[in-house]
Symmetry: C2
Subunit: 243 residues, 2 copies
DNA sequence: TGGCGGCGTTCTGGATACAATATCCAATCC
DNA sequence: GGATTGGATATTGTATCCAGAACGCCGCCA
């Protein structure tokens, strides 16, 4: 069973809206199309290299091609697709080098995000965080774990009053989600294998939550940074992720 | 006399293309419109809050509104304009908080960029860099200095083989250029005032170039980071920049 | 047999035409 | 007199239509 079928509306922005006054800015069809495609790419229904025909998407969503085209421009800026003039749109391929680049940037930005978020986390956030951690620990399916893990981390950043920063970080996660999925299937045995009862991932989550609750910025910063760096370096051994 | 009238084609990407094989990807009108508007915003011909009417732009460039609309989507993703459904596009306003956010991110990303760029700088780069430094030192007009300074710094990063990183950094500079311009006019006296013959800015440039030529990554990193932080903190005293 | 060039199909890029929404102003009501 | 509502107008959002580029197919020829 796969969670988060289509609309994994689990972005940071949405998370922010959740406890604020939701900005009821009239949603145009362009936004709907963009959301639809973004979700399809992030959850893996559309795979890297897949061609995206405007007409097909338009028909699928019952609109004309115009909103589709605008949505494609937007997704290109987010790095999710690549747009080749007169040729078409394809789901962006991320090679080992770009993956490394993204992790480098994450390594420098996410510690900042956790520092900015940490002092602003409320009881509501922690309640959600604990729920997620518990849910992750009792979920078996690796794909589901991966999506929940994404939600968990974005949630820990979500209290930071830095919209641009959060948007970027969400973009990083989106761009790499499907590769992380492959990676997880390859290297996952090691990552998930329970020593005693708690996997490495679970342990990291608990340590991070603990640091957040103690408002211990330095420790939180370190956990985040080290985790990203370790993942980045580990990657070198799994180049086949990128076929 | 104002340099860089319209097309200050001084982006990092262009700088990169300069020494590589220029990707002759057929340029579509959307790109032309985007370039045109981007330049207009960065060089200050369009000011924060200014409304952008699709029809007007279309007429100005001799196209229909369709390419304009797609360009606007793109610029919105870059943070240069804000797009309100059924209301219109306006040049983005950056308030003190967002300005601070951008500088925070710059503080974390530009040292990374200089580190990645430093080992790859070639004689050609240095030649251009020296030219720019010299040109800056003999330029009087503050606006021109500012644009040249932008080119200088982007150039020092341009050797980094990290396209996403460079694009982000360029976006930061673009978003804030006009505010930096105001800031420079307000606080500029102090910044430009020559003690002896060399201003603070000039000194920083020389130190940075020296570190780059010595391939001294730590020093270069430090100069960049400290410069950005100092600017960020100084800002607190000039809130009137944001009207 | 294998490469190469013309031709048609398919799809994208852009223009034109129409629908929907916001904005502004005046008339109306309390 | 001030707030409110209704409509005219300007501008955006979307659909339809046309031109042109890319890609594949087929036959031709070395």
């Amino acid at each position: 069973m796969t969670l988060l079928s289509d609309s994994l509306e689990t972005g940071i922005t949405v998370a922010i809206d959740a406890d604020g006054a939701r900005s009821l800015a009239t949603e145009t069809r362009v936004d709907q199309v963009a959301r639809h495609l973004r979700a399809a790419i992030v959850n893996g229904r559309l795979k890297p290299g897949d061609r995206i025909r405007q007409e097909a998407i338009a028909a699928e969503l019952g609109t004309s091609r115009i909103p589709v085209r605008e949505a494609l421009r937007q997704l290109e800026s987010e790095g999710l697709i690549s747009l080749i003039p007169y040729s078409g749109a394809r789901v962006a391929r991320v090679d080992a080098e770009e993956y490394e680049e993204i992790y480098l940037m994450r390594e420098h930005l996410e510690p900042l995000a956790i520092r900015e978020s940490l002092p602003r986390l409320t009881a509501r956030h922690f309640s959600e965080i604990h729920d997620l951690v518990a849910q992750i620990e009792r979920t078996e399916d690796p794909t589901d774990v991966l999506d929940l893990d994404r939600r968990f981390h974005l949630l820990t950043y979500s209290a930071a009053a830095r919209p641009r920063l959060l948007q970027m970080i969400e973009g990083f996660w989106n761009s790499t989600q499907q590769y992380r999925r492959v990676f997880y299937r390859l290297a996952g045995d090691r990552l998930i294998s329970h020593s005693g009862n708690v996997s490495l991932t679970h342990m990291e989550h608990r340590l991070l939550v603990d640091a957040l609750e103690r408002r211990d910025a330095d420790t939180a910063d370190n956990i985040v940074r080290v985790h990203i760096r370790r993942t980045r370096l580990t990657l070198a051994r799994y180049r086949e992720v990128f076929d």
